[in-house]
């Protein structure tokens, strides 16, 4: 009896308690409403975001009068016209999008073997080491990590010091597009591994063993067995890494040195530097649209991956 109580998960007990509470508050039909009531926090959270988006949408349709620094009382599409007519906007959108795609591909290429070894290794020590190495960066903020790279990759940094030992003149490794992408990959790698690991754990080792026993070498096993079965995880990780990269602010700002702005940096400039919240809001909605369309295309081509449970999962 005691053993049964112990094995009953605490989360289930919590749910029982909630259900009892609902039944007490709503004695007639409270049970039927419980699932919907439990959805309330999520609905409120999403609803708050939706209301925020409505405000942003409203702002995006108002132009700033620079003689009074007040916004127009009427709606106009001028901010969008400006966004689509300024070549700088196109530059930063393409730079952000291309960067997000490159970072996603490179991150997945690096995250997959990491996650695979972490899941499959028989060495507890190695698994612990990989886990610690995976979680350690989460304790260090993105900005601190970016400044760390400034120290490492600077003209007088460790890398250039090492190059000097073999007679190479100091190289400018920072303040360019590759530096931003490098910083983003380093930042995104733990997210990629964390998203991939559950998908790889779900693949039974027996299936790989079966493929091997039927004559497949490790490459064929990887291509024909592991990768197809890991597809949901790859898609989930790809979507997370891509959306986070697309909207990143700190890496382009710090490692780009003011010369490699992403859309988020341009939005910051409009909101805070030039006080044009209307134009900033229009850039925000364009960024959301670009991100949503990109994710939609990924789902359309590859399926919804881990985000679609059940029937839609390919």
């Amino acid at each position: 009896m005691r053993r049964y109580k112990t094995s009953y998960p605490i989360s289930w007990r919590f749910m029982d308690l909630l259900e009892a509470g609902f039944a007490f508050v709503l004695p007639n039909g409270g049970g039927r409403l419980t699932p919907y009531l439990l959805l309330t926090p999520a609905v409120l959270l999403v609803g708050t975001l939706a209301v925020g988006l409505l405000y942003i949408g409203d702002s995006s349709l108002r132009v700033l009068d620079r003689t009074t620094f007040l916004f127009s009382d009427y709606w106009t599409l001028e901010n969008y016209q400006r966004a689509f007519s300024e070549s700088f906007t196109a530059t930063i959108i393409w730079r952000s999008l291309a960067g997000a795609v490159i970072v996603t591909v490179v991150t997945l290429l690096l995250a997959f073997p990491y996650a695979y070894v972490m899941v499959r290794t028989s060495s507890a020590l190695l698994r612990k080491f990989l886990l610690v190495a995976l979680f350690l960066p989460f304790f260090i903020g993105q900005v601190v990590r970016a400044y760390g790279w400034l120290i490492i990759l600077g003209n007088q940094g460790i890398v250039n010091d090492a190059l000097a030992l073999v007679g190479v003149e100091p190289l400018r490794l920072l303040f360019n597009y590759p530096a931003v992408l490098f910083g983003l990959v380093q930042y995104m790698l733990p997210f990629g591994v964390l998203m991939l690991a559950p998908a790889l754990t779900a693949i039974p080792e027996d299936i790989e063993a079966a493929a091997t026993s039927l004559g497949a070498d490790w490459v064929r096993t990887l291509v024909h067995v592991v990768l197809p079965m890991a597809k949901p995880g790859l898609i989930g990780a790809g979507v997370v890494v891509m959306t986070l990269s697309l909207t990143d602010f700190a890496m382009p700002a710090i490692l780009g040195g003011g010369s490699q702005d992403f859309v988020a940096n341009a939005i910051y400039d409009q909101f805070f530097r030039t006080s044009d919240q209307g134009f900033g809001a229009s850039l925000t909605l364009i960024l959301i649209a670009v991100g949503s369309i990109t994710v939609g295309l990924v789902f359309a081509v590859f399926g919804a991956g881990t985000l679609a449970l059940g029937a839609n999962r390919k």
Binding site: R66, T68, F69, E86, G154, S259, D261, F272, R273
Partner: protein
């Protein structure tokens, strides 16, 4: 055109007598007036920039104010760009603003003045003892009180210029400076000299700045570094750049930290601008009174001397002594001839056009 190429310093001299009179008046303020002072708040919140900036303000203005009144001064180090929307929102919603006084660039403060969120400071008693630099250009009255001026000098490493200081921004186009020059990432401080370096005139600002953008295109080919104030000091300290268009305080900061650095005003001239103090609307009568007193105290000669010694900048009160080594320096203009090559454009023109200028500069540099 609403710009001023030269500053009239005559009023600076004329005002010196008034300073003495104002000082005497404050010393001999009748006790009956002191008794009429409103209740003192326990603290006033002053937004400030960090590091040596806030240290200078603390030593020069805040500590003496606390000593005199007993009111504690809290320095809020939120960036001026980021506090601005919070203040605007608070005023629009009839809430108490998060700060009592904003130490702000005059350009940013002008936006708030145009928006109508600044208290009028025209009747501060110490204003009568200030030079015309204290008066913001392009707005009515004193919604902001400018407290000092600063120059966007061309700072350089003497070692990189063995034949003497760079005479012109054209000197930076020498191939040996490729990748070794720096500008603010939105080009602030460089737009106006670039207009002249590109063969244009100041009279064409803001209507026609093609000359500016043509010269910026040439500079872009030199692959400059783009950054903010702290970056310039770091880059000079590490020897990563040979020259930069930057506020003189940054160059002075690098020099004070031991870097071999000098600065000059090139033949195209240098942008001259001001910072100031202003009070957002929405505070209680007593808080407003003491906030105004704080700004008034920032305009006394004694407080300006200590505050601006820390910043190495010329103030708005006559009779200040330049910090060691800055007498006659182009970054410390005091005489009319010092201002001949300094470019001052009205705050209103700047705020109306800076978004376009920043965007165009970034488009060229990042395109």
């Amino acid at each position: 055109m609403n710009f001023e190429r030269k500053l009239n310093r005559r009023s600076l001299l004329k005002a010196s007598a008034a300073v003495g009179a104002t000082g005497l008046a404050s010393v001999s303020m009748p006790s009956v007036l002191r008794a009429a002072e409103p209740d003192k708040p326990s603290e006033l919140i002053i937004r400030a920039w960090g590091g040596p900036w806030v240290e200078a303000l603390k030593n020069g203005v805040s500590d003496p104010f606390t000593e005199k009144t007993g009111i504690r001064i809290v320095h809020d180090l939120t960036e001026d760009n980021e506090i601005q929307p919070k203040v605007w929102a608070a005023v629009a919603q009839n809430r108490t603003p998060p700060i009592h006084i904003n130490w702000d660039t005059t350009t940013n403060a002008t936006k708030s003045a145009l928006r109508g969120v600044c208290e009028d400071l025209s009747d501060l008693s110490n204003l009568s003892g200030t030079t015309d630099l204290a008066k913001p250009v392009g707005v009515e009255g004193y919604p902001i009180v400018n407290t000092y001026g600063y120059v966007y000098v061309l700072a350089y490493r003497p070692e990189a210029f063995p034949d003497g200081p760079p005479k012109s921004y054209h000197d930076l186009l020498d191939p040996k400076f490729k990748g070794r020059i720096a500008f603010y990432n939105d080009g602030i401080g460089f737009h106006f000299p670039a207009q002249l370096a590109g063969g244009g005139t100041l009279e064409d600002i803001p209507g026609n700045m093609d000359a500016c953008w043509e010269f910026v295109e040439k500079i872009k080919a030199q692959n400059p570094l783009l950054g903010e104030d702290p970056d310039f000091v770091t880059w000079f300290q590490r020897g990563e750049i040979d020259a930069a268009c930057t506020i003189s305080t940054n160059a002075l900061g690098a020099k004070r930290s031991g870097v071999d650095i000098a600065w000059t005003v090139p033949e195209e001239g240098a942008k001259f601008d001001t910072d100031g103090l202003w009070i957002p609307k929405g505070h209680s009568e007593s808080d407003l009174y003491w906030a105004r007193e704080y700004i008034n105290s920032a305009l006394t000669q004694a407080n300006q001397q200590v505050w601006l010694d820390g910043l190495g900048l010329p103030g708005v009160v006559p009779g200040l002594t330049p910090p060691e080594g800055l007498a006659g320096d182009p970054s410390y203009p005091t005489k009319p001839e010092d201002f001949e090559r300094l470019i001052r454009i009205s705050g209103q023109i700047q705020v109306e056009n800076e978004s376009e200028w920043f965007s165009k500069f970034k488009q060229i540099m990042q395109g």
